[in-house]
């Protein structure tokens, strides 16, 4: 602080003009920021401030006291001084001009706990938390939701298994359900989460790992006229020894308590023996009958299992929908090429086809697991290795479509089997790329079989998708295993059906 005499100095005193000292500090700063101002003080004339005034080299008139407002400016010249006093005047005037005071200070909630609290305050308590942040952050979000008393659906993938186990242990203590991680689909209270088909409401509750296996089950139940009460996805590792099946057990109990659920379908991947035993015991003790559909094993056939459920529920006498073209290409036997978006659908197709063809390799879309030159190969474009830095092919099927076009031109391929998955979250017109590739293929192209996983109510229009594919020359099946059997028989050289 300098005490050099300045060329233009003014000290004004306003008697009895009380202002808040903090607010005045702000005015002081605004005045001091005026060009040409060396020092400024706008403050109540307390002893402290009179001392600061003295340090500025100024003095207040005798009798100035703490109820008086001081305006002191030292500036380079008279013009700067006037500008500064003008600035002080307008800043002091602005102090008493407020907003309307009624603006709500709503910051978006940073956490699920806060979001849930606000939903409750609005008289609409949350029923479920949906977590789809990157996998390494997902468990922390899910813990927060559990502690807020909410069931959680973890859509995120790449959640470390030990974190999943810890999360589910906490959920079990709190009597809550964790769906997922990597819960790609769920239907709860009529709402589809993630990739979900618009299935009719009905008496069958589904507990599934939550991938396309669950979608296939729901679509086939819908096709059988049964309908779904809820579909709870538990994540692909829930029945492993590390995780211990907490979500499966909880989901089974929830459905057992649910009056709308008359029958439960448990879509199960191969389970750790101890966990499988616990689940079996629990299921046996429930009031609601439980049907178990095994997928991901050599003899998996979801369609057959759903048909059994339908029969048990008294919904017999139906056929899985299929849409067949008027003519088929003349194509000698050869390789089966499966190009899938859905992992469970790919696994099932390979398992079904291998019964006819012998070993069928399953590879990831990035080319790992072998190229397509020769041999029967089913490729999963939804594999983590392929989707790490790309959208899932159910959202953006471009890479799969490109490969489809290439397979149509491959003389070694006898039959190309693809899935088309409809529903919320999926591409708005997944058939389009396949139809276009078919239009550009020559008459000597391989057979094309489509496994169409969708319900009549899906936004993409299942029947429209099927019809366009059929007209382009593809055979379309609602049953994935039916499509795979047909593809295998064509590759093996059996008579066209």
């Amino acid at each position: 602080m300098t005490t050099e005499p300045a060329s233009a100095t003014r000290v004004e005193v306003r008697k009895g003009a009380y202002r808040d000292s903090v607010a005045l500090m702000r005015v002081t700063r605004e005045v001091a920021d005026v060009a040409g101002v060396d020092a400024a003080l706008v403050a109540m004339a307390t002893d402290l401030n009179l001392g600061i005034l003295a340090e500025m080299g100024c003095a207040a008139p005798a009798g100035t006291g703490p109820d008086d407002l001081l305006i002191a400016v030292r500036a380079a010249d008279g013009a700067a001084l006037e500008r500064a006093l003008g600035a002080a005047e307008s800043a002091l005037a602005a102090m008493s001009r407020g907003g309307d005071g009624a603006a709500p200070a709503d910051v978006p909630p940073r956490t699920l706990r806060t979001a849930a609290r606000r939903a409750e305050a609005q008289g609409r308590p949350a029923t479920l938390a949906l977590v789809s942040v990157p996998g390494r952050y997902a468990a922390a979000e899910a813990f927060d939701a559990l502690e807020a008393g909410l069931d959680v659906l973890v859509f995120s993938d790449n959640v470390p298994v030990e974190q999943e186990a810890a999360l589910k242990r906490t959920a079990e203590e709190l009597d809550l359900l964790v769906m997922g991680p990597d819960c790609g689909t769920a239907v709860v209270g009529g709402a589809g989460f993630g990739f979900a088909n618009a299935v009719r409401p009905g008496p069958v509750g589904v507990v599934a790992a939550s991938g396309t296996g669950a979608q296939q089950v729901m679509c086939l139940l819908d096709a059988a006229g049964l309908g779904v009460s809820h579909c709870l996805g538990v994540g692909g590792r829930d029945l492993s020894a590390a995780v211990g099946g907490a979500s499966t057990r909880r989901a089974l109990r929830l459905l057992d308590e649910d009056p709308a659920t008359e029958r439960i379908v448990l879509v199960s991947k191969p389970a750790a023996p101890r966990v499988a035993e616990e689940v079996r015991e629990l299921a046996a003790g429930l009031a609601t009958p439980v049907h178990t559909v095994l997928v991901g094993t050599g003899d998996s056939d979801i369609s057959a299992a759903v048909a059994e459920v339908a029969a048990a529920a008294g919904a017999g006498g139906f056929r899985w929908p299929e849409w067949l073209p008027d003519s088929a290409p003349q194509r000698p036997p050869g390789a089966l090429r499966g190009l899938f978006c859905g992992g469970t659908l790919a696994e099932e197709a390979a398992a079904v086809a291998s019964r006819t063809l012998g070993p069928v390799r399953v590879g990831a879309g990035d080319g790992s697991g072998g190229g397509s030159a020769g041999g029967h190969l089913v490729t999963d474009f939804g594999d983590d290795a392929f989707t790490l830095d790309r959208p899932h092919p159910m959202i953006d099927p471009a890479a799969r479509t490109e490969r489809f076009a290439a397979e149509l031109a491959d003389p070694a391929a006898a039959a190309v089997l693809v899935d088309v998955v409809l529903g919320h979250g999926a591409h708005p017109d997944p058939a389009a790329g396949l139809v276009e590739a078919l239009a550009h293929a020559g008459p000597q192209r391989p057979h094309v079989l489509v496994s169409l996983c969708g319900s009549a109510g899906d936004v993409q229009g299942r029947d429209d998708q099927a019809e366009r594919l059929r007209r382009a020359g593809a055979e379309v099946y609602a049953s994935n295993s039916a499509a795979a059997r047909r593809a295998a028989s064509l590759a093996a050289g059996a008579e066209p059906a």
Partner: protein, 476 residues
């Protein structure tokens, strides 16, 4: 068995992550509220905060430990029970000095702490001049210890010497004690690092006249319920850190009859009343030890993630977390942003200093800014800023204090008990209202404003909590 509404109610969803998924639900007429998700804070030096976070969140002790901490903090009933010399109350020997913040030595002490220590040496008669004091301190001629290590707190430099008088607070139920010096006022004062003759003379008057008067009045009155005054001042435009006007006046109102009835010379009583009433921050030194009593109640609970102290020594900011004992997690203190007195500017300001952040630690101060909208003028914000600030503090705290109600938020309890995991997870740092000391020893106060702790304090505390927590079950 189930308290779940999952299958019984129409779906209402709260969502964190991809907007696409929420849109798909909205298209089905499902109400969705999205969070404004931020990834957790990164640890400097590349620690795995996301992994630490899950390990701490999965600690089976955490829920009960935090609930116990909240129960203890909210159960404290702070009362002013005595006013005594620090030498007697804190067993502080001549040549020993307490200071604010985590431990620091003379070599690393900032300007205001050095200035305050120099002034305290002169005040104690251990040096004739500030220059002599500085030379003695440089030679290691004094023992330095954090206030927090003695159950005390000190604003700004927080220097307490044996001859200074301190407020003694007690928890009505447990009898636990805490202490804080008497507030000297604003401007050129010891706690802001000033040590001129006026400063020393004022301190001498406080020990000779003010302290004994207050002691006699408090003893005559009986315990003064500081918690009740805090609760009232939050409804009168104070937040208990940078604004203590109504608290100061309520204290004066409470003690004045006993001050007058004590038979002391009228001139002394008048001077004391004038000094207290003329210092809007006088009550700060009672809000602080009240906060100290509250937060000490939560110390040392295994698995507990509550922050029990935030304090700065002018060089470093330090925090302590219940589950990590008395360990400090420190990082270089930030410099507040705000407004400056007279012709002082940002270049004159010392980094953040003082134990007064115990107020935010216990849920008032910056956390209760919604109670004190006048405070927002410090940052040129609007009244909405005060509301937003308090609302965002609920994101990082474990409890709402029913005793400290905020009228503008429909009497919602103040956000109380900072959860280290929530700070790291949300990236929201505690908001602190503070004064600013001059960088150069002897200057005094240069301004006031807002500041936050450095993020590293919290990532380091989280890593330590993670190290204490059981490992996650191994993948089988």
């Amino acid at each position: 068995m189930s308290r779940s509404r999952l299958l019984t109610d129409d779906p209402v969803v709260v969502a964190s992550g991809a907007r696409l998924l929420s849109e798909a639900l909205e298209a089905q007429a499902v109400p969705v509220a999205d969070t404004d998700f931020h990834p957790p804070m990164a640890a400097p030096g590349g620690g795995d905060t996301a992994g630490d976070l899950v390990r701490v969140l999965a600690d089976p002790r955490r829920g009960a430990a935090n609930a116990e901490a909240v129960r203890r903090v909210l159960g404290v009933r702070p009362q002013l029970v005595d006013v005594r010399p620090a030498g007697e109350a804190l067993e502080l020997r001549p040549g020993s000095f307490l200071h604010a913040g985590p431990p620091v030595d003379w070599e690393h002490a900032s300007g205001p702490l050095r200035g305050a220590l120099m002034g305290a040496m002169v005040f104690e008669g251990l040096a004739d001049t500030p220059e002599d004091a500085e030379a003695a301190l440089r030679r290691g001629g004094a023992e330095l210890e954090p206030c927090h290590h003695r159950g005390a707190v000190g604003p700004m430099a927080g220097v307490v010497s044996p001859s200074m008088w301190v407020f003694e607070l007690a928890d009505a139920d447990t009898g636990r004690r805490s202490w804080c010096s008497l507030n000297e006022g604003l401007g050129a004062v010891l706690r802001y690092g000033a040590y001129g003759p006026d400063v020393i003379e004022r301190l001498r008057w406080m020990s000779r006249v003010l302290g004994p008067l207050l002691r006699d009045a408090v003893r005559a009155h009986g315990p003064v319920d500081i918690g009740a005054i805090l609760a009232q001042m939050l409804q009168m435009g104070d937040e208990g850190h940078n604004r203590n006007r109504s608290g100061t006046l309520m204290l004066l109102r409470t003690l004045l009859p006993d001050l007058l009835a004590g038979g002391a010379p009228a001139g002394d009583v008048a001077a004391a009343a004038d000094f207290i009433g003329g210092n809007d921050h006088f009550f700060l030194n009672l809000a602080m030890p009240a906060g100290k009593l509250m937060m000490d109640a939560a110390r040392g609970i295994p698995g507990c993630t509550m922050v029990v102290a935030m304090a700065r020594n002018g060089t470093e900011f330090g925090i302590q977390v219940s589950g990590c004992g008395d360990r400090w997690f420190t990082a270089p203190a930030l410099t507040p942003e705000g407004l400056f007195l007279g012709s002082f500017g940002p270049e004159d300001a010392n980094p953040d200093i003082g134990d007064s952040t115990i107020t935010e630690t216990c849920g008032i101060g910056g956390f209760a800014m919604a109670a004190a909208p006048a405070i927002v003028r410090f940052v040129g914000g609007d009244a909405d800023f005060a509301l937003r600030t308090t609302r965002s503090m609920y994101e990082i705290t474990l409890a709402e204090n029913p005793a400290f109600q905020l009228p503008i938020l429909d009497f919602r309890g103040a956000p109380t008990g900072i959860d280290a995991t929530r700070v790291v997870r949300t990236g929201i740092l505690p908001q602190i209202n503070t004064g600013m000391a001059g960088r150069v020893p002897g200057t005094g106060q240069v301004g006031a404003g807002l500041v936050t702790p450095p993020a590293e304090c919290f990532t380091a505390a989280l890593a330590a909590l993670a190290a204490e927590a059981p490992t996650l079950p191994a993948a089988g």
